[in-house]
Symmetry: C2
Subunit: 374 residues, 2 copies
């Protein structure tokens, strides 16, 4: 099989990249044994570049800001993209104790003009089910999307360009030199040759043979709940709530379909399965902020690992001639999918967008490879 | 189709009754669209006639005591009954606050000689993972069984005597007189004629046509969790723990397969689905008693309705010639299955065991039917 580009990995990032290349007129294949069943399946879908801004992650949040701005156009170019639940929504930042309040006020200082203070009376007018333990509320204008619908729309748009299988290795012009140009991939039952190989397979990227340098990703496990709001409580919420409850974080994201997503724990020890303690903390903190959460039906408790780098920023750039890496998006895969797609499309066109410079994929390799990024 | 007896309902009670009749040499059919998927599927499997004794439920607990005593012989008569996880186990009654302690001491007063006081030091020697919030522990020698395995063994033993379908109505000798002798049942695709019809279909019993009087059952919904103990914490517990945590009840039942069952909420309002508040309370109270529960994997959260009568005791006895009712076992279906099976076998033989007299199935009917129980 021959094509212009082969994308390894069918999470939200790989799917978006593949579709971006199709839109640019490329002949594309995407290889994944089970597309959209990893972190994408768990993701809540907050497009919240302001409220997720951490002071130590400047470059990342510039990227997030740009990606969030690209979202409407990105969705418009996907058949069925209008049905992905993308909508403008206020994010309410909610604090319970003094330290929680301090944490949300830090963000307000970091993004002046974008974080609005609300009185509790104003907050309760917006969200009547906000509980009495909330002591401070700030508002940011952001967006949300439904990642499962988005992944399904991308999968449908890609159609039979999606190959359900596993990549065993990346093939190079000189089989003995992984720095020589990549020329395709070996899959279970054959070979796909391509001008460009794009590695977007999350934690599996560390296991693909033929990488020019080791890709180190850590699995940041998380539990997330999906709940159904009974008719008498509908809509439970209008805004997306991001709360700090005695130092612990929880968010509640309502959808038009009458469900609410409550997430998400973060742990690097312990197993990949749903953690009883994680579920307990989510329900404890969610009911602390919105007591009526106790009246909801628990539809689903899901655990997935977020493919995360050592500095929490993605690996995004060219790794060798014919080889691009776009993975390690951690908690931000859904938010960053449009910019990942646009950046890889530019790289394939021979242009390295300046905003990806901080995300060189070899930045953790023992001896960074001298590399002309172009 | 003709047979000696047709059992409506394939929960643990109906399955046990059908198997008891097969053992007595009867030609039996059991009809259920989905056997063992109702309350039986959720049940934990505590055979705890002492620790579930309520002062107001004397007759019920005499029945429970007898049923628990019958369990070993009952299982021995089932092919594969040895693999149902039946075992002797201490039940530890655990209290957190003064009122909780008062509640467990009431039981000790009710069953003198059967409830042993343990010091906290003795309790921690038995259960090293018992948390610091336990302030009083009592011990009772009881048993446990795995209801899913038991139901599977009974289903296998019954084999093609199990008809997967729904009963539409009970047929009577005089089609216009539901007090006339029952002669069989109408199912979706035909009729099964039988000398005896046994109604054991739980909440569905209220919907079967042709009953001589209305059967009133209330669904008592409950949530129950199944968790897996990671190797480093195995075995989490040896005993079955029944705890009261600030007035709320929780139990933890460990199994040899490395899982722990945590249950169970009780609610009569709200939906039939898993309740977020219910799961929260179970995890909150279980971690209060055994903090290491937070380290377990959450395998399953299940909600089912327990078919419960107005006085919490079952409906067990003859309702009309050829018609026996054995349902409404509420929280006690698994514990009472052996005595239900033995009692119905006796009724079919024309003997009414005296211990079932308090459980006349017509005791809530508007005008109790004058009935020779024989």
């Amino acid at each position: 099989m021959r094509c212009d580009a082969v994308v390894i990995g069918g999470g939200i990032v790989g799917l978006s990249i593949a579709w971006g290349l199709v839109r640019a007129g490329r002949d594309v294949r995407l290889v994944d044994p089970a597309p959209a069943t990893g972190a994408t399946y768990a993701a809540a879908g907050m497009i919240t570049p302001v409220s997720e801004h951490r002071p130590t992650e400047r470059a990342l949040h510039a990227l997030a800001q740009e990606s969030a701005a690209d979202y409407p156009a990105f969705l418009e170019a996907i058949p069925g993209g209008g049905g992905c639940g993308f909508e403008a929504a206020s994010t309410l930042l909610v604090a319970v104790d003094d330290a929680d309040r301090h944490a949300i006020d830090e963000l307000a200082a970091l993004r002046p003009g974008e974080v609005e203070s609300l009185t509790l009376r104003e907050a309760r007018r917006l969200e009547p089910l906000l509980g009495p333990r909330a002591t401070a509320v700030r508002r940011v204008q952001e967006h949300r999307v439904d990642p499962r619908n988005l992944a399904a729309a991308l999968l449908a748009a890609l159609g039979d360009r999606v190959v359900r299988g596993a990549v065993r290795s990346i093939l190079h012009e000189d089989p003995n030199d992984p720095m020589s140009p990549a020329i395709g991939v070996r899959i279970d039952d054959g070979v796909i040759t391509a001008r460009e190989v794009i590695v977007a397979s999350g934690l599996d990227a560390a296991r693909v043979e033929g990488m020019p340098f080791p890709v180190t990703l850590r699995p940041v496990h998380g539990d997330i709940l999906r709940l159904r709001v009974p008719g008498r409580l509908w809509p439970l919420l209008n805004c997306t709530l991001r709360a700090r409850v005695h130092g612990s974080s929880v968010y509640l994201l309502p959808r038009a379909d009458g469900t609410v997503v409550v997430g998400a724990t973060q742990r690097e020890h312990g197993g990949a399965s749903v953690s009883a303690g994680g579920v307990y903390e989510l329900l404890r903190d969610a009911t602390a902020v919105v007591p009526a959460v106790a009246e909801l039906e628990l539809l689903e408790a899901t655990a997935r690992a977020r493919p995360t780098t050592l500095d929490n920023a993605p690996l995004l750039g060219r790794a060798a001639p014919g080889l691009i890496i776009a993975t390690g998006f951690g908690r931000h895969g859904v938010m960053l999918a449009p910019i990942a797609a646009a950046s890889v499309a530019a790289l394939v066109d021979g242009v390295a967008p300046p905003h990806i410079a901080p995300f060189r994929p070899d930045r953790f390799a023992a001896s960074p490879v001298p590399l002309e990024v172009s």
